[in-house]
């Protein structure tokens, strides 16, 4: 599942016009790395919510910019285990 989520994040970022060619598991999503700013983080979160049936609180979004790709994918896996008994929505 981790791999699936990581690929879904990469696909979402590509569709959002970000260059993911040099993205690695340790790349930070926000200004320290890929440079997603607040609206981009919001969009990524909504896309992942739609794809995997998880929910993120608004208060969580600012902190997401500090996560690496690996950490973000792990967060989604963890969230799926606790919030979505029905499994992925897509």
């Amino acid at each position: 599942m981790f791999e699936t989520i990581r690929d879904a994040v990469k696909t979402a970022l590509t569709e959002m016009d970000y260059d993911v060619s040099e993205l690695t598991d340790t790349t930070v999503l926000g200004p320290a790395g890929l440079d997603l700013e607040s609206l981009a983080v919001a969009e990524l979160a909504v896309r992942i919510e739609d794809d995997f049936g998880v929910k993120f609180a608004d208060e969580e979004l600012p902190g997401m910019a500090d996560l690496t790709l690996d950490e973000f994918a792990s967060l989604v896996v963890e969230r799926m285990g606790t919030t979505s008994a029905a499994g992925p929505a897509a």
Binding site: L39, A40, E43
Partner: protein
């Protein structure tokens, strides 16, 4: 005009037009005249759809807006930021260093705003549903985002606004600058507007299907835009626009800046006749011109040049010619339209033509109307045609009219600043008053 009110002077010009981004080259091309119109090349969205277009240069988003949202900045905002950057550089003003940020205003106009973005996002939503829509939709397409981006980039913290009166929008924005300066509400105003006319199929098709565009010129796209000519049959879409720096004349003097021309008055009326057709009797435009001249405290005889809206539509040119004839009577000023060279930049046209008017006044050279080979007898005016006319003038008008029935006229005079400049260069050293 209230003689105690601060005078407003144009000290900076930035342009993005089918003729490029260089101001001196722009004015040279107008005066030759050399057309900026081409047949849309293969691969361009307008290819095969329209015969002729005024395509502005590609702009490097990386040099204009921050990295994180560069991919979503609509072309109309990139053009506005590029023009504002150039105008501020031309005026030699760094906001925060040369002027209090709260005393600087910005009014960047547009007709339609980010139509390219909206079209793209509407397609994405059609193909992929809600998940296809970017969170940046509003920060990309809203018409006020050019103003916002310019303010953000340059730290402008005074008045800001956006005018969206279609083809009169950027002339309205410049009129707003006059009001802000003369009321004492700003020391420096960055004003003008842009239109990304040629980026999306929907916008182009809307004009084409309304039969507003010139047709039958596939063999010579440079001949398609022919204001006031008997063979005119519509306007040619152009993209781009311009931004001016307008500031208090005493403020410009205090920092040793040279002025191109003073902005001394404005007029604005509404036809209230039809949503997109001008009133053919020209009464709305005539009232607008009279009001502008009166507000400037000038006589009719002072106006030596009118840079007409002159789009090349049958009825629009006739209405405007009727208005100029009515207002000036037997002593007609010289008249020309820049659209023969540039095409119609819609919301960007007022600012580009204000720049042309200012440059004509500053250099005493009046550009001709390109393609005006056989003036329509129904548009009997003192046309400048064939080549430029050397004629120092005491005052000049720039007129704009729009879908919606909006009319705007701007009045310029030679600069009251100590130092004057022309298109030929930042003359800086010329002592105008001396």
């Amino acid at each position: 005009m209230n003689s105690t009110a601060p005078r407003a002077v144009v000290t900076g010009i930035g342009l993005v037009t089918p003729l490029g981004t260089d101001v001196a080259e722009f004015f040279e091309a107008l005066c030759e005249p050399r057309s900026g119109l081409v047949r849309p090349p293969e691969g361009h969205v307008a290819h095969g759809l329209i015969d002729s277009a005024g395509i502005a240069p590609d702009l490097d988003a990386a040099a204009l807006v921050p990295r994180h949202d560069r991919s979503v900045a609509d072309r109309f905002t990139l053009m506005a930021v590029a023009a504002a950057d150039a105008a501020l550089a031309d005026a030699g003003i760094t906001i925060g260093q040369d002027v209090d940020p709260y005393r600087v205003a910005v009014v960047a106009a547009t007709g339609a705003g980010g139509m390219i973005t909206f079209e793209r996002q509407a397609r994405a939503s059609g193909e992929r549903g809600a998940p296809g829509v970017s969170s940046y939709l509003y920060s990309a397409f809203l018409p006020n985002m050019a103003t916002a981006r310019i303010a953000l980039k340059h730290g402008i913290r005074g008045f800001s606004s956006t005018v969206t009166t279609a083809c009169a929008a950027s002339a309205h924005a410049i009129a707003e600058a006059f009001r802000l300066i003369s009321a004492g509400d700003a020391d420096v105003v960055v004003c003008g507007g842009t239109e990304a006319t040629l980026g999306g199929l929907t916008g182009i098709a809307g004009f084409r299907n309304a039969r507003a565009l010139a047709t039958g010129w596939e063999d010579d796209p440079t001949a398609a835009s022919r204001p006031f000519d008997s063979r005119r049959n519509g306007f040619v879409l152009g993209e781009g626009g311009g931004m001016l720096v307008v500031e208090r004349a005493d403020f410009a003097d205090a920092r040793g800046a040279a002025g191109y021309a003073d902005l001394v008055g404005w007029g604005s009326t509404t036809d209230a006749y039809h949503l997109i057709m001008p009133n053919p009797d020209g009464s709305g435009v005539a009232a607008c011109l009279r009001s502008a001249i009166a507000r400037a405290g000038l006589d009719l005889a002072d106006i030596g040049y009118v840079n007409a809206h002159g789009t090349g539509t049958k009825i629009g040119d006739m209405a405007e010619a009727a208005a100029i004839q009515q207002v000036f009577g037997p002593d007609q000023p010289a008249v020309s339209s820049t659209k023969g060279v540039t095409g119609h930049l819609l919301g960007g046209s007022g600012a580009v033509e204000a720049a042309a008017t200012v440059l004509a006044l500053a250099g005493g050279t009046l550009p001709p109307t390109h393609n005006l080979d056989d003036p329509d007898p129904k548009c009997d005016l003192d046309h400048v045609r064939g080549g430029a006319r050397t004629a120092p003038v005491r005052a000049a008008l720039s007129t704009s009219s729009a879908f919606g029935g909006h009319n705007v006229a701007l009045v310029f005079q030679p600069p009251s600043t100590r130092l004057a400049r022309t298109a030929a260069g930042a003359a800086g050293g010329t002592d105008h008053a001396g």
